[in-house]
Amino acid sequence: MRDTLSLLLYLMRLRVRTRLEFRASLVIAWAAQAFGYAGVFASIWLIITRFENIGGWTWPQMALLLGFHTLGYALGACFTLVQLRRMEEIVLGGEFDTLLVRPLNPWAYLVFSGFNIEYGGHVLLGAGLIVWALPQIPIEWDVETSILIFGALLSAALITASMLTMIGACAMILGRARYLFGIYFDFWELSRYPASIFAPAFQIALVSVMPLGYMAYVPVSVLLQRPVAYLGSAAEVAALAAGPISVLAAVVFWRFCLRRYQGGGG
């Protein structure tokens, strides 16, 4: 176990060192991605500037929501997105067969050897929004609040990693699965807004089968002491538990797909 962990950390270190060979390119990539998100967030800010709020959410509250959403996503996606989006090519090109005969879990190898530090822009933007928004919102600070903030961010990262793992795993059965990431990102974009503005069917979906509501809306609502439809007083526990539960679902689904994998390459 210890050897495996040190090997995974070594793979991560190799990846980071490789990327750091092109530092200027990395910094430009961070700036570009932060700019891309800032463009969308600026549109949301413009709506609130004109209409005062979105569904009762003011700009500092929305900034906190967007910060949670961006940071939680970045923490999960740096381990999974680029790596598992390639699953289709890995399976169809036969590379996955070579991973299966290595003395290391193929998922762990993929995830850690492809650790992506290009999410620096996301992290800075997300953390920046949270740091800017928190002092402007009346929150009673105690141990429970701190646990909720850090726990919910970790949970959001786990939800991201789990969902991307499940979508990537589909390639083992379907072969072509890259297009499925599109539907994930459509719902993911939906989850950057307060779920309370959507129709009940979407609200239910975002806290059940597509648990992206737990990435930001549920924990931030709890922090702001706003009611969360369909969860009520269980919202705080649900926000913290959603990540570990989605990890369990991802483990079961990955193993299910692996059992049915019959080779896709030539």
Binding site: A32, G36, I44, L46, F51, I54, G55, I183, E189
Partner: protein, 264 residues
């Protein structure tokens, strides 16, 4: 010309082959429209109208602006150019009997026409049935909107190709793509029309070519301008298309000098 049309047809047929992908894109587009309409329903709940714009107009803006006039996928051109350069495929591309920018344009047009016909129109029909869709303000506005549709397409494609061609120098198309996304997200008026921008930003956004992608076509469709003024904006949009076309031709002529092909 026949090669150009053949490339458009080939690109269209390539998209048709992936039926499962098409269904997923329709579903994704429906989700996106639900999000946009929900936002406008939420913000208009306390206001009858804002700057003379009603909720019903904004629903139509979201339906057409989020589908036919959407700008998000155009950044893929930048990615395609980057991949062609990074993999060295640009060498073989230069041997073809059609100029590379023209080839890119044809391939993107095929994909876009597919998108309009088999994704955008069904989504507009479904969501229009659910939320209500306004018709163009008048017959004249409708005719002018068709003109704006092609100006929008040309500005979007040419901006993407122009930015993509800069990959010949910076070698980092991924970052260029994100810069383009950020600029288009706000300045095209894709999500928020320029009507709702603060005065200073609105003045700048009005004259930049990005606003011809979504905002100006929708302003004409909804009748926010009279016919004479709309026609003037259409001419101005045509001017931007010519300017961007010339810029693409100039940058491409310089980019060709950057290519060094080894081996063979």
């Amino acid at each position: 010309m026949s090669a150009f049309l053949a490339l458009i047809r080939a690109s269209f047929q390539r998209e048709v082959e992936h039926r499962a992908k098409m269904l997923v894109r329709i579903l994704g587009s429906l989700v996106e429209i639900v999000a946009r309409v929900s936002i406008w329903q939420a913000v208009f709940s306390g206001h009858g109208s804002m700057n003379g714009i009603t909720l019903s107009q904004m629903v139509t803006y979201a339906l057409i602006g989020g589908t036919i006039l959407s700008s998000w996928d155009a950044t893929m051109i930048v990615r395609d150019v980057g991949t062609t350069i990074r993999t060295g495929a640009i060498g073989a591309t230069l041997l073809r009997p059609v100029g590379y920018p023209l080839m890119l344009l044809a391939e993107q047009l095929g994909a876009r026409f597919f998108d309009w016909l088999l994704i955008s129109l069904p989504v507009i029909a479904i969501m229009g049935f659910c939320y209500g869709l306004q018709l163009p303000a008048s017959f004249g506005h409708g005719i002018l909107f068709v003109g704006f549709l092609f100006v929008s397409l040309a500005v979007l494609m040419l901006t993407g190709i122009l930015l993509g061609l800069f990959s010949f120098w910076v070698f980092d198309a991924h970052s260029l793509e994100w810069f383009m996304r950020g600029a288009l997200a706000t300045l095209s008026g894709g999500l928020v029309p320029i009507w709702f921008f603060p005065a200073g930003l609105a003045t700048v956004a009005h004259v930049l070519p990005f606003s011809w992608i979504t905002y100006h076509p929708m302003a004409v469709y909804l009748g926010a301008r009279d016919l004479a003024s709309s026609a003037l904006y259409l001419v101005a949009g045509g001017g931007w298309v010519m300017a961007l076309g010339l810029a693409v031709a100039f940058v491409w002529s310089r980019a060709c000098g950057q290519v060094v092909v080894q081996g063979g």
